[in-house]
Symmetry: C2
Subunit: 447 residues, 2 copies
């Protein structure tokens, strides 16, 4: 294997085309898998050295799973590919006229470029939320949120002031999609099964969990029935669900809602939306208002012959069922990645391309122990069986056999013990999130 | 359970004595366990919310185990203790004349104080080493080292300069005790079994692993036979062992040895020594040159009636077999903790105290796959069987049933797959360790 990929060679020099994939999420991985043993040099750029299974980040944040169960190093996946290269770097800019990308470790030319950079949190211009809220897009976010949740309870032990205590013990989750719903459910289980044993000094009834959703119902991507059932589950578990309610501002302490209501919490978790994460260098005409790249039915970025975009960062014209683009979830990304790999193979041997067609397998969300909602082709069900289906599907989707086994074992452990043994604060002091730590003499209120 | 522990009350007010334990390492845990259901209020202060199983940190650093397998939250251990309190805080100072400690979250009085603050890395005044070397005393150190090892190889891909490449691919471990030996062995296994598949572009023969030891042999705490066998194992595996050699200076790049030899490496791992980590406020007369607190045979700090020190931070007079104090390892700390818990119970009911006696069960170190050295009462053995014994003893010592099962499964996985699936770089850019990242156009050296 040659030592370094080269900058200025293209087909003429290498003899084979170089395909650069930016981002190793669900879509990017499928492209690379589908190109195995093709006569092409495949180069993956990612700023992490591992794939992250984003649908389970919320379980890392709520101490249910260990970090390592949901991530897996790229190099392990593609050990057996013959002409695959990985580079740990951030891509700064694409120069389409030169077939060239600039990265944090240098520049490189491509024959075909696949942009699979996914999505980032959308704060809709709310700067206070951006500054103070926790988000849930990567493993560092999830670990920081786990640290924060536990640290807030440790801090709550130190105060006698009721408002201070509420600000530490109350949690506000914004966004009633799967992430928000699943997080609210998991937090409730911590509150019910774990924290009362850990924090006997606190009155856990004081821990309020709010779920704020701007639209009239939860789980907008699913059927009305699923949304209503999720709401019923959550409400019974004690979550305060606020529908038709948006967040107007947040200063790290006070949340002002569109209804005029105010909530006090030092922990606002923002799961209210994402936007595409395009790379710079492309004309603004191909970027949608949601930050997604406009692509044709072959996932080709409008106006470009050899630049493709897939997954969350792409929005496809022409699928009548999805006039606003496919949902920003794993399945469209994976299916587009698979299709694109085949089309790239066709391109190389100068065959015709096949247009992408989305096959909607349905969707699901879990709310808690024995509680999930599932919509599948014509069938909808909720409750225990849905929960089993949810677990099975997620277990099968986790990358790597070892991760599957560890996750399965963790779930069994959590189920039978009612415990969450990953309630750890790991990391350095810089992660402190309360600007001023409540510091005082322990007060004397009892004998 | 009353909400807050009180500051200024002592026996008279509470009706029962308050015992404060600083540090939840091996020693601190045993004290608290031994005080279960006693008529005493027990308060643990620690700056982490979890116990760390330090003997396996090196496996986290070399991608063999996940972080969470070797740590466990304190609150989980002591859920079933009736009058136990945990406080996440750093203890700043003790004021013995007031029976009072100052902490990062306020002050509190004690009736009995147990100092179990362990040890910190000893750089012996080498400021360059302190600034640039990796250390191995806690979970953050271990994770940072894991990140660094993998990142160095990612960087090595980017350069053509031979010296630059060597500086990235060579690793220098200083200290031939168990940590240094085990780390050198584990790195060699990464070099042999994992990296050649991951980094086909690199010539892994260029990866040198040096182990530098100031004394004439490895594993000074064990028998000569164990040390020689460890050296034989390591040398066969390709580790360059330098005996009778000390590090004179390090600038993040060049290591100058006492022999005059120079090594080039951006990765110096310092496992050459520890020193006691006493808390301030005690007279300098009770602190040994090694930073340990002088204690009598009851682990009572000299000159104090109600302040005790155990484990690495304590040095006991009067054990003829150990005139310089007991070894700074888990077993003396655990045994002292157990003894002290009994003595505190005796103190409370005004019975006589029993002096501590160390029972030396022997010691062991693992070098790699099927290779370990064991010294036990009169018996010494090395090789495969020693390796099984090492694994069994460590598995039994890991705290928590779930951690035992996960660790066992990880070891089986690693053994049969020859893989290390935790080779992850997790964390933010602040963890970058090469001051100047090698950044350049990918050079054109091949077709």
């Amino acid at each position: 294997m040659p030592k370094l990929i080269t900058t200025h060679t293209r087909i003429a020099d290498l003899g084979i085309p170089r395909i650069i994939v930016i981002g190793g999420g669900f879509g990017g991985l499928e492209v690379i898998k589908g190109l195995k043993d093709q006569k092409a040099q495949v180069v993956l750029f990612d700023k992490y050295n591992h794939h992250t299974f984003q649908p389970l980040l919320y379980q890392v944040a709520t101490s249910g799973l260990e970090t390592n169960s949901i991530v897996a190093p790229f190099r392990k996946f593609f050990n057996n590919h013959s002409d695959f290269y990985f580079r740990l770097a951030e891509v700064i800019k694409v120069k389409p006229e030169e077939n060239y990308i600039e990265t944090s470790i240098g520049g490189v030319k491509y024959d075909y470029l696949v942009i699979a950079t996914g999505a980032v949190t959308n704060y809709y211009g709310l700067s206070g939320v951006h500054k103070y809220a926790s988000s849930m897009k990567n493993i560092v976010d999830a670990t920081k949120l786990r640290n924060k949740i536990i640290r807030q309870l440790e801090y709550a032990l130190l105060t006698e002031d009721e408002e201070m205590m509420n600000s530490l013990m109350d949690f506000v989750i914004v966004g009633g999609g799967p992430t928000g719903v699943e997080l609210a459910g998991a937090l409730t289980e911590l509150k019910k099964n774990v924290f009362p044993k850990d924090y006997k000094e606190l009155d856990m009834r004081e821990m309020d969990i709010h779920l704020v959703e701007a639209s009239p119902r939860l789980l907008n991507g699913m059927t009305k029935q699923a949304g209503e059932k999720a709401q019923e589950f959550l409400t019974k578990m004690g979550v305060k669900v606020h529908l038709n309610t948006a967040v107007k501002s947040y200063d790290g302490y006070e949340i002002i809602l569109s209804t005029g209501e105010r909530l006090i919490s030092r922990s606002l978790i923002w799961a209210a939306g994402v936007k595409g994460n395009p790379i710079s260098g492309l004309s603004s005409e191909v970027v949608s208002p949601g930050g997604r790249l406009l692509v044709d039915e072959y996932n080709r970025v409008k106006g470009h012959e050899n630049i493709f975009a897939i997954g969350d960062v792409a929005v496809m014209d022409g699928d009548k069922k999805f006039p606003k683009g496919h949902p920003m979830m794993a399945p469209p990304a994976q299916q587009q990645g698979k299709r694109l790999a085949k089309n790239l193979r066709n391109l190389i041997i100068k065959r015709d391309l096949k247009p992408f067609q989305y096959f909607d397998k349905g969707s699901m969300a879990t709310i808690g122990r024995n509680k999930a909602v599932v919509d599948m082709k014509g069938i909808r069900f909720q409750g225990v069986f849905a929960w089993y289906v949810w677990m099975f599907v997620h277990l099968m989707s986790i990358v790597g056999f070892k991760n599957k086994v560890f996750t399965f074992f963790s779930w069994m452990w959590n189920y039978f013990s009612f415990d969450r043994s990953n309630r750890l604060i790991i990391g350095r002091n810089e992660e402190k999130i309360v600007e001023e730590e409540p510091k005082q003499e322990f007060v004397n209120i009892n004998s």
